[in-house]
Symmetry: D2
Subunit: 134 residues, 4 copies
C-alpha cells in the first residue's frame, strides 16, 4: 500500500486524550490525495484539468486502537475497486510502532463540474491501473 | 427518531461548496449526545458519574445528497442495537426541505476510566431502554 | 450585543479537557452570521445576492477562562467599526454561568466575486447601521 | 525563523476555495510544536515530564493573501518574547512561491497540571534561549 506519515496534533485530540474519530476521515483524504500525487497527478489537477470531482458516497472506519497526541502514524492507502462509475479506496492507519490503529474505506463516484454523474476519465483510469491494490 | 437541528457553517464547507464529509461524524456525535440529554443524562455525566467512556468502534456514513452552506439540517438519532458490551446508534441527516442527505451508524463499547472493557452500566441500560429504536 | 448560544462538543475539546483555541474563531463566524440573520439578511445571501465576499483581514482572541466539554456558551457579537472599505466585529464568549471566557474581534474587507476590493454595498451598510454597536 | 512545511487539505478549504481562517491557528500550533521538537524537546514531553501546560492567552492573525487547496505553505516560527510567567511565539505563513500569506502571534502562560500559574520551568527556559528570535 502507499504510505504517508502524519502526526497527531493537539487540535486533533479530545478530552479522552485520543485523536477524535472524525479526523480519521481527514487522514483518509490525505492518504488518497498523496497516493494520486505519487502516481503523477494531484487531485487538484483531477478537478481542474480532467474536470471531474470525486465526491464520497460512503465512508467507513473501524477503530482498533487509539492514536494519542504527537503520535506519528502512517496512512496506508490502496485501490480496492475500480468500476466505470465508482471506485473504492482502502486505508490502514498504522502507528509508527507498527500497531494497527484503524482500517477503513471510502467509495467515490465521478461528477462533472456541473454535477452530472460521469464515467471515470480515461486518464484517471490509466493512473489508477498503476496504483497499489488490495 | 430523536431530532436535533444544526446549521452548516462556513468552516464546514469545502471548495466544492458542500459540507466536508468528515463533519457528518461530528454531527453524529451531536445527535447521540442530544439523544442522551433528552433521555435525562448528559454524556458528560456518563463519563463523570458512571465512570464509563463510550469510544467509537466503527463509524459508517452513506452520503446521499450534499449539504450546502447555511443549510439547516436535522440530525435524527436512534438506538439500533443494545448488547452487554457494545451498542449501536443509527443516524439520518435530513435537510429541512425533507430530503435525505446521509444515513449512518456508530458502534461503541464501554470502557472504564482506566481503559478496561466493561459491561454497559445499568443506569445507562435503563436510559437506553427508553430511547427511540430502529 | 447580539447573543447566540452554542454548546462545546466532544470534537471541540483537546486533551487538556478544554475547547481547542482555534474553535473560538469558528464561534466568531457563527456570531457574525447569526447577527446578520437577525438583522434580516443571511450571509449566504450577502455572497449570492449582493455579490460581495467578506474575507477576514485580522482575527484576534484573548482567552480568559477555559470552556469545557458540554458547556453552554453565549457568543455575543456587535459591530465595532464601519468604514467604506472594511468593518470590524467585536465578540465576547460568555459561559452560561455568566463568566467571561474570551473576547476578540475580526476585521473584514469587501471583495467582489472576482476578487477585487469594493466598497461596502449600500444594502449591507443599511443593515449594519441597525446592528448593536460597541 | 524555524520552518516547517504543510499542505492545504481539502477539508481545510471553504466554499470561497481558500483555507478557512481558523486553520491558521492550527498551523501556528504545528509551528511552535515543531520548533520545540527541533530544539530537542517535544511539547508532549513538556506536559508529561516538566508537568507544565502552555495554554494560549492571546492569538492574533493578520491575513495577507489566501492559501488555496493543495498549496504547500511554510510555517515559520520564532520566539518573540520570553518572560517569567509568559512567552510569545511569532509566526509567518509563507507560500512556497515566497508570497507572505499571514503573520501572527500567540501568547502563552505556564500552568501546573492542577491549573496554578507557575514560572517557566528552567529546562524550558534553557531550550527557549536557543530558539530563533524575532
Amino acid at each position: 500500500m502507499h504510505r504517508f506519515a502524519i502526526r497527531v496534533r493537539y487540535g486533533d485530540t479530545d478530552q479522552m486524550g485520543f485523536a477524535y474519530y472524525a479526523h480519521y476521515l481527514r487522514w483518509f483524504e490525505i492518504g488518497r490525495t498523496e497516493l494520486l500525487r505519487d502516481l503523477g497527478m494531484s487531485y487538484a489537477s483531477v478537478e481542474r484539468d480532467l474536470g471531474v470531482l470525486l465526491p464520497v458516497l460512503t465512508a467507513h472506519c473501524d477503530y482498533k486502537r487509539s492514536a494519542r497526541y504527537d503520535d506519528r502514524v502512517w496512512i496506508e492507502t490502496a485501490v480496492a475497486e475500480l468500476k466505470r462509475a465508482s471506485m473504492r479506496f482502502a486505508y490502514r492507519i498504522v502507528h509508527e510502532d507498527g500497531g494497527l490503529l484503524a482500517i477503513g474505506y471510502t467509495e467515490h463516484c465521478f461528477l462533472s463540474r456541473d454535477g452530472r454523474p460521469v464515467r471515470m476519465p480515461v486518464e484517471l483510469q490509466q493512473l489508477m491501473d498503476r496504483a497499489p491494490r488490495v
